[in-house]
């Protein structure tokens, strides 16, 4: 546990050192890269929201839905988990127009990454729901609650606490996967970096700054999720 902050500091100082050591006025790259970072953040946030919604729906449909819905959920999970995120991105961007569906690049990016991570998230949600003790369902039956009410008011709030740490991992995965969207014409952080590198050849500075920027975003996610976990768990020891 102690190694983590140490390692983070080491990486930060190493990259910062490299940038300084090249004696360049690296500040000139920052505005352009920040523009790219803003696009990356937008895709990450949109993708994460979509991922959570898709995962909840898919997990609940797979566990409690009527048969056709259950099949649909299984198909979604298997397809999006079992194929490459890059191919999904290309498929939505280059194949859908052949069927007359034209989407904005940003929408495609958010949809592809959100649905991809949502497929993994569905298993996280399912695991967390199954981990809620059976007695909670039984108490809900004894209080004559319909199943959907019990799920919404009793089971999911408890499952929520257990699913926060794995969601933190998935959000960071999603952040890193956003680098793929530079391949469908979006000027995200990775795209900006490549573009600047091709015109200035200041490889060391540019990619060091990019590294730090990705790291900064992922640290924000980690800290945010940890705070959320503390808040959610407050006053509640998980019951039986």
């Amino acid at each position: 546990m102690q190694l983590r902050p140490l390692a983070i500091c080491a990486i930060v100082f190493f990259t910062a050192g490299l940038a300084v050591a090249s004696f360049a006025n690296f500040r000139e790259f920052i505005p352009g890269l920040l523009q790219g970072a803003w696009i990356t953040v937008q895709i990450t946030v949109g993708g994460c929201i979509l991922a959570v919604v898709a995962a909840l729906l898919a997990a609940v449909a797979k566990m409690y839905g009527p048969l056709p819905l259950r099949w649909l959920a299984v198909a979604y999970i298997e397809v999006f988990r079992g194929t490459s995120a890059l191919v999904q991105l290309f498929w939505l961007f280059f194949v859908l127009p052949h069927f007359g569906i034209n989407l904005e690049p940003m929408s495609v990016a958010i949809a592809a990454l959100g649905l991809n991570v949502g497929a993994y998230g569905a298993e996280v949600v399912r695991g967390a729901i199954s981990a809620v003790p059976r007695g909670q369902w039984e108490a809900s039956v004894a209080l004559n609650m319909p199943r959907i009410l019990a799920l919404r008011r009793i089971i999911l709030p408890q499952a929520f606490v257990a699913m926060i740490p794995p969601w933190g991992n998935l959000f960071i995965e999603l952040l890193k996967a956003t680098a793929l969207v530079s391949l469908i014409t979006i000027s995200d952080l990775a795209f900006k970096a490549q573009q600047m590198n091709q015109t200035t050849f200041r490889t060391v500075e540019i990619f060091s700054i990019v590294l730090v920027m990705y790291l900064a975003i992922s640290i924000v996610i980690t800290v945010g999720m940890r705070t959320l976990e503390t808040v959610a768990a407050r006053g509640m020891a998980r019951g039986r």
């Binding site: 007695g135 004894a142 209080l143 004559n144 609650m145 319909p146 009410l149 008011r153 006053g235």
Partner: protein, 258 residues
């Protein structure tokens, strides 16, 4: 003759090839207090769980207040109940569990308000008043904003009793409600049940290992053995003068353990 509040009519429950309850016939009068005793594996907890619809039955019919619970009348015959029917008849029954099963993410008060608001459709104000009253009754008026994790086992179980009562059931089921408690906390829970039995006209079924309590509390004691009622009668008769060898063996084993 009055309609029995609960009636098991030839009810059978099997798990695979194991028969847990074998053609059970049992009638419980309104307001009657029945204690169910017996060795583990005798099917006594299953009786309560079937009545609460936590277990499906394989054969027979259960009636609550004269109405079939597990079945509904259709064209003069009985067909298995659908969810709507089940929910309507189940509303008469409340249950308290061995492990409390309180909702850990809600305060004691919220635990007692949740179902009255969302199932019975009571206005929040009224649900809160009623919940507070019930928590007062179980002696926890000062703990209503505590979460289950901040309460002792005995206190949690008393909240669970208040929560079940908030639904105004006609029948209350108690499934070994003191078995998970430290010995010094058993008394406070039994005290609440004793008051309940005296002050409310509730039909009560209690699976218990507390023979002393069963004796003072119950109008009738049923001794279960291998999925059947081996012997039943007034507490004095069962405890002081059991007719069956199996009852005698069980009682002497339990009383010896203290």
């Amino acid at each position: 003759m009055t309609t029995p509040m609960v009636k098991f009519d030839n009810v059978t429950k099997r798990y695979g090839s194991l028969t847990v309850l074998d053609s059970l016939n049992l009638e419980i009068a309104p307001n009657e207090k029945v204690a169910i005793i017996g060795p583990s594996g005798s099917g006594k907890t299953t009786v309560l769980r079937m009545l609460m619809t936590l277990e499906r039955i394989n054969d027979g019919v259960i009636y609550v207040d004269g109405e079939p619970l597990t079945h509904m009348e259709r064209n003069g015959g009985l067909v298995p109940a659908d969810e709507r029917h089940l929910r309507r008849v189940r509303g008469n029954i409340g249950m308290v569990f061995q492990h409390f099963n309180l909702f850990p993410h809600m305060s004691a008060l919220k635990n007692c308000m949740e179902a009255p608001i969302h199932v019975l459709g009571l206005p929040r104000r009224e649900a809160e008043e009623r919940a507070a009253e019930l928590l007062d009754m179980v002696g926890l008026g000062d703990k209503k904003n505590h979460y289950p994790s901040q309460l002792s086992g005995g206190q949690q179980q008393r909240v669970a009793i208040a929560r079940a009562l908030a639904m105004r059931p006609k029948v209350m089921l108690f499934d070994e409600v003191t078995s998970a408690l430290d010995p010094e906390l058993v008394g406070e829970v039994l005290q609440v049940i004793r008051r309940l039995a005296k002050e409310h006209s509730l039909t009560m079924l209690m699976v218990t290992h507390q023979m002393g309590f069963a004796k003072e509390f119950a109008d009738r004691v049923c001794f279960f053995h291998s999925g059947k009622i081996a012997e039943q009668g007034a507490p004095e008769a069962i405890f002081n003068n059991p007719q069956e060898e199996r009852t005698r063996q069980f009682l002497s084993a339990v009383l010896e353990a203290g």
